[in-house]
């Protein structure tokens, strides 16, 4: 498809000509980087020293109101139609792929209007990973640092410019609106981008061959290995909160006086309350059952249900784990277990 060049110093003008969109992008926030709605383009942070916290919150917020209620009136649905179209800028190819894993869950037999409304209104502008992070392993789970899957436009940082590839009609619309800023690319620039693509893939150091994992998991459900693997786990849940393909949620009511709202909040399968019955019975009573379920969900059940591994290889669960539980190491142990 078509490719264009946008000078880096024109990025602000680029967004200025897209003012009808709500723009989400990485913002430096203390020592971490978060995806936020950009009100002031000064705050935009593309020089990522830390992996940006996942962009899924732009489509699936950590907390969202489902409806409001008042004791004597029927519940009032949150108005979804008023929501502006959104640009999610600076998303990494692995995170963009994660939307392809989340979509079938929220579509399903009974579609989820909250997720789908935001998803349909979102334009995903990715930045290719010319410098993969320490624990990136996207190439082991079907992705790569320049993957276009799920994206509408892909930006690659050349020296002083972005090389832009148009992937979808939604992406083309953005280029049409900013056509005075975007020039056609030259063949040298295309060659430079291709070279970067090639070298970046070779910079990914962490790898795992998933070949026999689903079959292996079928055989070792009751194996003592799960107790061993879970011994270090403190059940903090950061592996799930930071995971771009995790989608579990809780629903709670918040009230003040007679009024209130029903909200949904991200939840984590690593918490004991997640599965705790009111009777006190818990089908996953300890961290070993919970860690086992998380690995089965990503590397077996997701394949059973949707035909694809439920992991995009972003490596955040490894980088952020406070006790150095390492998913790739665990999977390697599982492969060898007798």
């Amino acid at each position: 498809m078509d490719s264009f060049i946008l000078q880096k110093d024109k990025l602000k003008d680029f967004f200025a000509s897209l003012e009808e969109y709500e723009i989400w992008a990485p913002v430096q926030n203390g020592t971490t980087t978060l995806f936020e709605v950009i009100k002031d383009l000064q705050n935009l942070s593309l020089d990522l020293k830390h992996q940006a916290l996942i962009s899924k919150s732009a489509v699936f917020p950590q907390t969202e109101s489902l409806f409001t209620f008042d004791r004597n009136a029927p519940p009032q649905e949150t108005n979804l139609k008023e929501k502006k179209e959104t640009i999610i800028f600076g998303i990494r190819p692995c995170d963009a792929r994660s939307f392809h894993l989340l979509d079938p869950v929220f579509e399903g037999d009974i579609p989820d209007p909250y997720y789908l409304n935001r998803r349909n209104k979102a334009v995903l502008i990715g930045i290719a990973c010319s410098e993969p992070f320490l624990n990136c392993f996207c190439t082991s789970v079907g992705g790569n640092p320049f993957s276009k899957e799920g994206l509408d436009l892909l930006f690659t940082e050349l020296n002083s410019a972005f090389y832009i590839e148009v992937i979808t009609e939604k992406g083309k619309k953005i280029i049409d609106k900013t056509s005075t800023l975007c020039a056609s690319s030259s063949s040298e620039e295309s060659t430079q981008k291709e070279q970067m693509e090639h070298t970046s893939e070779s910079k990914i150091k962490r790898k795992i061959d998933l070949n026999n994992i689903p079959e292996k998991l079928t055989a070792i459900f009751e194996h003592p290995i799960w107790k061993q693997l879970a011994m270090k786990c403190i059940g903090c849940g950061i592996c799930t909160y930071s995971c771009p393909t995790c989608y579990c949620f809780d629903i709670q009511d918040e009230t003040r006086a007679r009024k209130g709202r029903r909200v949904r909040i991200w939840d984590s399968c690593m918490f004991s309350e997640y599965t705790l019955h009111a009777s006190g019975h818990n089908p996953r009573p300890t961290r070993s059952e919970r860690l086992r379920n998380r690995i089965y969900h990503k590397f077996k059940f997701n394949i059973d249900n949707f035909g694809v591994v439920g992991c995009v290889g972003c490596g955040r669960c490894i980088t952020l784990c406070p006790v150095n539980l390492d998913l790739i190491e665990n999977l390697s142990i599982i492969k060898e277990v007798e």
Binding site: P75, Y114, F221, Y247, I251, T275, F301, D304
Partner: protein
């Protein structure tokens, strides 16, 4: 797009005590304010709740052959069910659904039916009994095996005592420990099943109760010669969405809320975690 998270408001028209004591059970009869039907299938569930408190997944204890109302038999257990127990006739509650697959009753036509329930586990079996009684010619013999800890914990007592007198069903009640006035079976439900020995010939067995009871009932049914395809159960897990998205009710790759709650043992025995 219909919003699956929006509940409808229904009014409690009648409240009946089923079991008293430390584990009280109440049956709520409810009707939607505009009088419409819920169009549920036997064995389906609904999210029942109170705005401001929350929701719980509850099996629908009445058959769709009973028009104009729904019944839910609910044990007082957690936050939501305690709040429901504080309700009175005339109060409003929230309902959304129906959810889940339900029992394949059309496939069971012409068969004998055995229901095997324990405690509050009789609630999802009750609509099967009602449905069969309302379509009596479509099914063979109906055996109702049901037990609870004490006679006070038995649900639907009046209906079951009434059924005992007639010819439409055979009722086999039990309690776990002896009581002075009790002349029927004393012991656990799986043992009562072995004593009654229903024939597996053209028979479907459906069981619901505590997980440990279900496991022993299935073991005993297999011993009696029932095949995996003749045994059904209905499961429960903690749920929040009811539509297979919030994640927590999975048993292996299946979700109890949308792929269940009804499973044949042929399916169940291949699932990890059961």
């Amino acid at each position: 797009m219909k919003n699956p998270y929006m509940p409808e408001i229904a009014k409690i028209t009648e409240i009946r005590d089923e079991a008293l004591g430390e584990r009280p059970i109440i049956t709520f009869k409810v009707a939607f304010q505009n009088g419409h039907d819920f169009n549920h299938k036997v064995g389906q569930c609904a999210m029942v709740g109170i705005l401001g408190i929350g929701e719980s997944m509850i099996s629908i204890a009445s058959s769709p052959t009973k028009k104009g109302y729904l019944e839910f038999s609910i044990m007082k257990m957690g936050k939501v069910t305690s709040a429901l127990h504080a309700c009175e006739a005339g109060d409003t509650i929230s309902i959304r659904g129906p959810y889940g697959n339900g029992f394949p009753l059309h496939e069971w036509k012409g068969n004998n039916i055995v229901t095997i329930g324990g405690g509050i586990g009789q609630a999802p079996l009750r609509p099967i009994i009602q449905y069969i009684l309302d379509n009596r010619g479509d099914f063979g013999q109906l055996d109702i095996i049901y037990g609870a800890r004490t006679s006070n914990d038995l649900c639907f007592k009046n209906e079951l005592f009434e059924l005992e007198k007639g010819k439409d069903a055979k009722v086999h009640l039990s309690i776990d420990v002896e009581e002075v006035e009790w002349t029927k079976f004393v012991g656990f439900v799986p043992d009562n099943l072995l004593k009654i020995k229903p024939s597996p010939k053209n028979t479907i067995a459906i069981t619901c109760g505590p997980v440990v009871m279900i496991k022993y009932v299935i073991k005993n049914l297999l011993e009696l010669g029932f095949s995996d395809q003749q045994i059904f159960t209905t499961l429960e897990n903690r749920m929040k969405c009811g539509i297979g998205k919030c994640g927590r009710c999975n048993v292996g790759p299946v979700y109890v809320c949308k792929d269940g709650p009804v499973f044949s043992y042929a399916t169940l025995k291949n699932l990890p975690e059961f």
